[in-house]
């Protein structure tokens, strides 16, 4: 017990508090668009983009950029727009194109890291960028502020475009047919996804991002039945899981990313149970 309290006392230190704040914000952002991604059958785009982000990161390291994030952001946004365009023009080949881009970026990223990295612990570096930091997140002040600023931008954009995102997600054809600027909103969604993925890469690593996007939405959809309640529920779900996950990882000395995803899985199972139980009762 004392040990646990000792560990939690870490939170006195700014680096631990920063990790908690940033982690919760990222979890919040990624859950919001999760609903749209799952419903539009776009989950795989998040996955593909996260690999692109990984590739971009290694390129940044090789070039010797000290602050990698803006570069990764631009590259990922660019890929997001590209993938979305592809998906619209050639429907059948969209899947394959994404698989190609994502696996390609992953392989090249690993290759670059091995060939050019001056670090003595290449596999450790690769591992932490794929699965997130092993210990608690240590973020530079710039990274913290950049993460907070981007999260706020994502939140504001989401709130302002909430109704449009609903229309485009529920029925894109209807929206286009009745004269809404669907293409613009799709583009916006793609850019926001890219931002979220770059943000989340710090927290859970690029292989686990999809979990952060998909689990909250899928859990909320088991229980709630309107778009608004699903969105709110998945936001609360995601924030709670991230908060608990980070605390557990501090106390139990486990990697942050996989601990958060672990709590997400437990949360999902609970919602699954609640969902089947309530369905039985009403049926």
């Amino acid at each position: 017990m004392n040990e646990i309290i000792d560990k939690l006392l870490l939170l006195q230190y700014p680096f631990a508090r920063n990790a908690l704040i940033v982690g919760v914000l990222i979890a919040l952002c990624s859950s919001l668009l999760g609903v749209t991604l799952v419903l539009k059958r776009f989950s795989f785009i998040g996955d593909g983009l996260s690999h692109v982000a990984f590739g971009a990161m290694t390129v940044g390291v090789v070039i010797g950029l000290t602050n990698n994030m803006p570069f990764i952001l631009i590259a990922t946004t660019f890929a997001a727009i590209l993938i979305l365009r592809k998906g619209q023009n050639a429907k059948i080949k969209g899947d394959a194109a994404i698989a190609m881009i994502s696996v390609g970026a992953l392989a090249i990223g690993y290759l670059l890291m091995n060939v050019f990295s001056k670090s003595s612990n290449v596999s450790g570096d690769v591992c932490s960028s794929l699965f997130g930091s092993v210990k608690i997140l240590t973020l530079s002040t710039t990274e913290v502020w950049l993460s907070i600023a981007l999260s706020i931008v994502v939140l504001v954009v989401f709130v302002l475009f909430y109704n449009k995102i609903f229309s485009v997600t529920f029925d894109e054809n209807f929206s286009t047919a009745t004269g809404m600027k669907t293409e613009l909103y799709n583009l916006l969604i793609a850019v926001v996804i890219a931002v979220i993925i770059v943000l989340a890469m710090n927290l859970v690593g690029s292989l686990l991002i999809s979990a952060l996007v998909v689990f909250p939405a899928l859990s909320a959809m088991r229980v709630f039945k309107s778009f608004r309640s699903v969105t709110i529920c998945s936001a609360i779900f995601s924030v709670t899981c991230a908060f608990l996950g980070i605390l557990i990882s501090i106390v139990a000395d486990t990697p942050v990313g996989s601990t958060i995803v672990g709590t997400d899985i437990v949360g999902f199972l609970i919602f699954l149970l609640i969902g089947t139980f309530t369905k039985r009762r009403t049926a």
């Binding site: 539009k40 109704n163 229309s167 209807f174 286009t176 047919a177 004269g179 809404m180 309640s229």
Partner: protein, 235 residues
């Protein structure tokens, strides 16, 4: 000037042509029924009129000051809607999306409009229900209420009665007729129900190898109808 004029239209996907030589006009207040066999290109025609697909050849002109965002559309059901968590209210209200421009939230007028169309479709009791748990007929009413939020001029309906029982089908036809006669909304409807087409519509467009367009009286007299009509009666 007609509300909608199509001249020598050729339709298809990715340059692959399905029908050609479609010419017809729709005037304000018309009730046009589009008939034809499965796969003849009726839905494709509707998507082309709506700007979801580019025409392969020919032109579509809108007149009488009909704007892009004054069109209402009832689609054949898409897959994504089947497990979508959305309440009836959210869906009907989303029909007002085309009058928002860049305004982020629905205003009082939008909400009143949605409320009015919910009353008009007789689905007030369902407002807070989840769309995917409604019956087919109830779902069609919800989508029709949404389409009515998007327009007060012209409605394009793609098989609005598919899968509905005879009683609900009749109700649906009455609703649509009322919208056409009482509210003066122009209707373009795809239907396999040739008897209803002849009963309610004043214009018929038959999409096939040989395209027919004319009033329903002309249609009944025509050769193309006779085979199709008999087929309908046999059932």
């Amino acid at each position: 000037m007609a509300l909608l004029t199509c001249r020598n239209l050729a339709l298809g996907y990715d340059g692959h042509e399905i029908v050609h030589g479609l010419s017809f006009e729709v005037n304000a207040g018309d009730y046009l029924c589009v008939v034809g066999e499965n796969g003849s290109g009726k839905s494709t025609l509707m998507k082309t009129i709506l700007g979801l697909l580019p025409p392969i050849a020919g032109e579509i002109r809108t007149g009488d000051g009909l704007l892009r965002n004054e069109i209402g559309y009832l689609p054949q059901q898409t897959e994504v809607q089947k497990d979508f968590p959305a309440s009836v209210w959210e869906i009907v209200l989303s029909g007002c999306g085309n009058r928002m421009g860049f305004r982020p939230f629905y205003n009082k007028e939008d909400k009143e409009r949605a409320q009015r169309n919910i009353e008009r479709m007789g689905i007030r009791k369902l407002v807070n229900r989840c769309y995917r748990e409604l019956s087919g007929g109830q779902q069609q009413r919800v989508l029709l209420a949404r389409a009515l939020c998007a327009t007060s001029k012209i409605l394009l309906l793609d098989e609005p009665v598919a899968g509905l029982d005879p009683v609900v089908t009749a109700e649906m036809y009455d609703l649509i007729e009322e919208l056409n006669k009482k509210d003066g909304i122009t209707v373009i409807m795809i239907s396999h129900d040739i008897a209803a087409a002849i009963k309610y519509a004043n214009r018929i467009l038959h999409v096939a190898g040989h395209v027919f367009f004319g009033t329903k009286e002309e249609y009944i007299e025509s050769d193309i109808a006779s085979g199709f009509l008999k087929g309908g009666e046999d059932k």
